[in-house]
Amino acid sequence: MLDPNQQFRGGVFHHSIPDGRIGAEIRITPSEIIAEPSAEALSAMDPSEVARLPRWVIPLSECQVDLGGASGRMVFCRNKERDLTIFCEERGFAAMLGDRSGGRISEQLHLVRERQAGENHRFRFWLAVGAAGTLLFGVIGYYSVLAAARFAIAAVPISMDEKIGSMAMQTIEKEKKLSADHPATKFTTEIVDRLKPHAAIPEMNFKVIVIDSSEVNAFALPGGQMVVYTGLLKKAESGEQIAGVLAHEMSHATLRHGLQRVSQSLGIVAAIQFLIGDAGGLLALGSQAAQTSILTSYSRQSETEADLEGARMLHEAGLDPESISEFFDKLKKEDGDIPGVLVWVSSHPLHEQRIESIAKFKSTLGKKEYSSLDLDLETVKKSLE
């Protein structure tokens, strides 16, 4: 129920007021909106100014209303000349105006609300369109850069891979490197030598070093340099399993995944430099990125490519392509729940899918009698104890 004598707190804009605005007490009579300066406002003013202040009146019949203010709910009443504004945000003010004007002002307010809602909807719609467009542009841009980098890498000479690989190699701990005549180094070198003729780039300068560490890990750097940890050799059951790991790593080098990583992590600048053939700039960028963590953490797509290329190499070399899946399946089953130990497997996601894709690929290679490597892994393991 509306109280006809209710007073509302609000304010007035008029040129007669110092600063143009004053806090006011507002009443709505059946024919007028009347505003008088509030006690608080008067107390802050000079007494001589107070005496000059009038009472502000807007006849309801000529009142134009609008909604706005910081909250969006403030009601503004203006006279016909639009030089006097009485505003109020209190509850019940709009309802009282509607009631006293016989519904005319309620109708005006309804139209204002509808107009504002329409504007908001239009703006939100165009913002959503803009956001979707930006996202689409970003996705297309990202894949274009990837495609451009792949295309450009093909044009970069292998010597560039070797330079970047050598720079990265310098950062790897050399103290625990086993000597060239250590049985473990000889063993892995022998396997690499057998696989080399079947690599996609046979003239690549493949080299392997063994590092004394309990970590079960192996990785390849651009240009064909590889690192195998003794922890991995100790875990393997056969020479074929190690051949599987090395074939996979050699494939990362021949497929030039390291360079792709550099180009992706350095973004579009590097991609453009690849394209225009600015080798000096590329080398400088490569040296910045010459950290094994960047060069050897590949995408899922790169891992799958290296699996299949490795499987092809093993097949050509007369070894069973499934020895690769056999090895990491064994690791996962035995020690899969020990975190941190199995670096090599944990960096290679989606286990079951990979085993499946290798098996599928093997079936397309044609039948072949696979032989064993005829290398003595047990002697190597003993030398590591």
């Binding site: 304010g11 804009f13 600063d19 143009g20 605005r21 004053i22 806090g23 006011a24 509030s38 608080e40 406002a41 802050a44 706005g68 203010g69 910081a70 909250s71 969006g72 403030m74 503004f76 504004t85 505003f87 945000e89 703006f123 939100r124 165009w126 913002l127 803009g130």
Partner: protein, 227 residues
């Protein structure tokens, strides 16, 4: 209480001359120096006001501190000197009625009769304009001191007025604030480097700052070495 804006306009500080019993509420960390006859009380609510913890939490969302410092002179002839974090100007705004909506970091100090609360400005403005989701709402009558990054300038809006995001210091409650595009087309607005802007509608006072902190961050950020 009397005040004086010193070292204007580049490194402005506010100097208060307080009589016994005079009290002023300041942003945490704003005090530069004070006389020995002033006591400091730290609470999460306005002096004599309610709210407490909830108001403190709401204030934190605006970028202000959970706590407020109330400085009260115990003797006459006391001096209190306060200053903002960013280099720039300060301004005095007499709040006589209604409320003032202030951008998070711009509120510096106010009379203890003014209530310092937070007000919701909406997701759209936060996500697309880079402005905060919550703003400080100063309600009551008394003196309000605002700070800016760079120079501060008042505008008496009557109708429509556009300000780039990050340049708003404060505006009166009679002004409506919406996010809109700078030019006619959205793409053109972005290509022109203005992106989305803040559009004010209505009648009332608006304070803007000549510089904006996010632009400084964008300029300096990439040049800093990672730690």
């Amino acid at each position: 209480m009397q005040y004086d804006l010193v070292c204007r306009p580049a490194s402005t500080a506010v100097r208060f001359a307080l009589d016994a019993g005079d009290s002023i509420t300041c942003e945490v960390g704003a005090m530069i120096a004070m006389s020995s006859g002033i006591t400091v009380e730290t609470t999460s609510k306005s002096r004599g006001g309610g709210g407490g913890i909830m108001k403190g939490i709401k204030r934190m969302f605006t970028g202000e501190n959970f706590f407020l410092n109330h400085f009260t002179a115990q003797q006459s002839n006391q001096t209190l000197l306060i200053g903002p974090t960013m280099i720039g100007d300060c301004i005095h705004h007499p709040l006589r009625s209604g409320s003032m909506v202030v951008q998070g970091s711009s509120w510096l100090a106010s009379s203890s009769s003014i209530d310092i609360d937070a007000t919701w400005r909406g997701f759209t403005s936060a996500i697309f304009s880079g402005e905060s989701m919550f703003w400080v709402k100063c309600l009551g009558t008394g003196d309000l001191f605002l700070s800016s990054y760079g120079a501060i300038y008042p505008i008496q809006v009557d109708g429509e007025y556009t300000v780039d995001t990050g340049h708003i210091v404060a505006f009166e409650d009679t002004l409506q604030f919406k996010i809109g595009k700078a030019g006619k087309s959205l793409v053109g607005s972005f290509l022109g480097g203005e992106g989305l802007v803040c559009k004010f509608q209505g009648q009332g006072k608006l304070y803007c700052q000549s510089h904006n902190p996010p632009s400084l961050g964008k300029l300096l950020g990439p040049k800093l070495k990672p730690r």
